[in-house]
């Protein structure tokens, strides 16, 4: 063999570049399959190996993953809706009507956002119910239960702040009623309501406040807490399996089916 040809050198260079991106071989062995998960930013939230029992559909009904997927849909559609939304009165209402009747695919994106929001509240609640009935909130997972309660609260607050943004009658009176409930809190109620509304009634200030909370503060908070929530699932030993089910037949040998 003589000196490498031009084509050979090019192939070597391409190979080097590819190896800097994909740092494992083709996932046809247990080692490479593990590395494929372990070295991937998006997959590394998964353990390198999971038990078949843990990922059975009826164990979790995939409710946590569905919540995360719905949050992804809401982020994508929400970002697109922001391109047409001016959070001021009465423009916000006109923009919402434009999305429904003028903008191409606007009604599709608005409805996708709306239904995904309703679904997320329902799915997060069901996720919580599943964890409760499985007893998966018990030690060492009690702190993750608390994080889950915070996430439910953030989800409901996102739903509630988003409720005002179309600036229609439903939004106006919905938020009027909600903030009047805050006013009923002893001692601090009046101040809390004044802070939330940015005034004494639902007005321009309220719309901007709810907009900023809805598109920036709450989604970032939810993403941060959700990251810790998923991390804790891993740290607490993965998906909860009751002790009487945990003992099963031995795992298949290495290189098995």
């Amino acid at each position: 063999m003589g000196a490498p040809t031009g084509v050979g050198r090019l192939q070597a260079r391409v190979h080097r570049v590819l190896r800097s991106v994909v740092r494992h071989g083709f996932p046809d062995s247990n080692r490479n399959r593990s590395l494929a998960v372990f070295t991937n930013f998006f997959l590394h939230i998964h353990p390198v190996k999971v038990r078949v029992k843990a990922i059975a559909f009826t164990r979790t009904y995939y409710l946590g993953g569905l919540s995360a997927a719905l949050f992804g849909i809401l982020t994508a559609t929400g970002l697109l809706l922001m391109f047409y939304c001016h959070p001021s009165a009465p423009r916000a209402y006109e923009d919402m009507k434009d999305l429904e009747f003028v903008v191409t695919a606007g009604v599709f994106l608005r409805n996708l956002h709306r239904w995904a929001a309703h679904a997320m509240v329902a799915v997060v609640f069901l996720h919580m119910a599943r964890v409760f009935f499985a007893g998966a909130y018990r030690p060492p997972r009690e702190f993750n239960w608390v994080l889950g309660v915070v996430l439910l609260l953030l989800t409901v607050l996102l739903s509630y702040t988003g409720y005002l943004l179309p600036w229609d009658q439903l939004a106006l009176w919905g938020v009027t009623v909600g903030t009047n409930m805050a006013r009923a809190v002893p001692l601090v109620g009046e101040d809390v309501s004044f802070l939330l509304l940015g005034g004494h009634t639902v007005d321009e200030n309220t719309l901007v406040r709810f907009y900023v909370l809805h598109v920036a503060v709450l989604p970032l908070a939810l993403a941060a807490v959700a990251a810790v929530h998923v991390w804790r699932v891993r740290k607490d030993g993965g998906i909860y399996i009751p002790a009487d089910e945990a003992a099963g037949p031995p795992a298949p040998p290495e290189g098995g089916p």
């Binding site: 697109l80 391109f83 047409y84 434009d98 003028v102 903008v103 191409t104 695919a105 994106l109």
Partner: protein, 162 residues
């Protein structure tokens, strides 16, 4: 004519495993969905309604504009002029770097505050860095009303005879 031995001709092996075929179809489905999403998203981002001033609009009754009048239309960024010769409209956008010029009637000039370009009331450059005269846009008279059409191109010295 030579005979061709079919059996001796090499047949390319096109067989594909079920897993490979399903993989290709799944990939194709994702590609179609992704392309459709991308196209729809770009289409969504192109506004169907603009909140810009109309490009064709009525200015005034032609008979109401006496010779020597210069009307400033800030929203449309236009000067509409009635000279002795007739009607013409000048773009108020400076030909240097696109700032909005202002009419200074006391000086009888059009001045750009950004870099000091100067034009006379016919749009000719009289000073400063502007490389060309102010652009003219089309004017017409419809039923006695002076109408401007920004989109219609006209000659640089266009004047509508009164």
């Amino acid at each position: 004519m030579a005979l061709v031995d079919d059996l001796a001709t090499a047949v390319p092996d096109l067989e594909m495993s079920r897993r490979k075929a399903l993989g290709v179809m799944t990939g194709a489905a994702w590609a179609v969905a992704g392309l459709g999403t991308a196209i729809t998203t770009v289409r969504y981002l192109r506004p169907n309604v603009l909140f810009e001033p109309p490009t064709r609009f009525r200015v005034a009754l032609a008979s109401e504009l006496s010779p020597g009048t210069l009307v400033v239309l800030p929203e449309q960024r236009l000067y509409v002029v009635r000279s002795e010769a007739g009607f013409y409209a000048l773009s108020a956008v400076c030909t240097h770097l696109g700032c909005m010029t202002r009419h200074e009637p006391a000086m009888g000039r059009i001045f750009c505050p950004c870099h000091g370009s100067e034009f006379d009331e016919e749009g000719r450059v009289t000073g400063g860095p502007a490389p060309a005269a102010l652009a003219r846009v089309a004017v017409e008279i419809e039923d006695g009303v002076l109408v401007v059409d920004v989109r219609k191109p006209v000659a640089p010295d266009f004047v509508l005879a009164a």
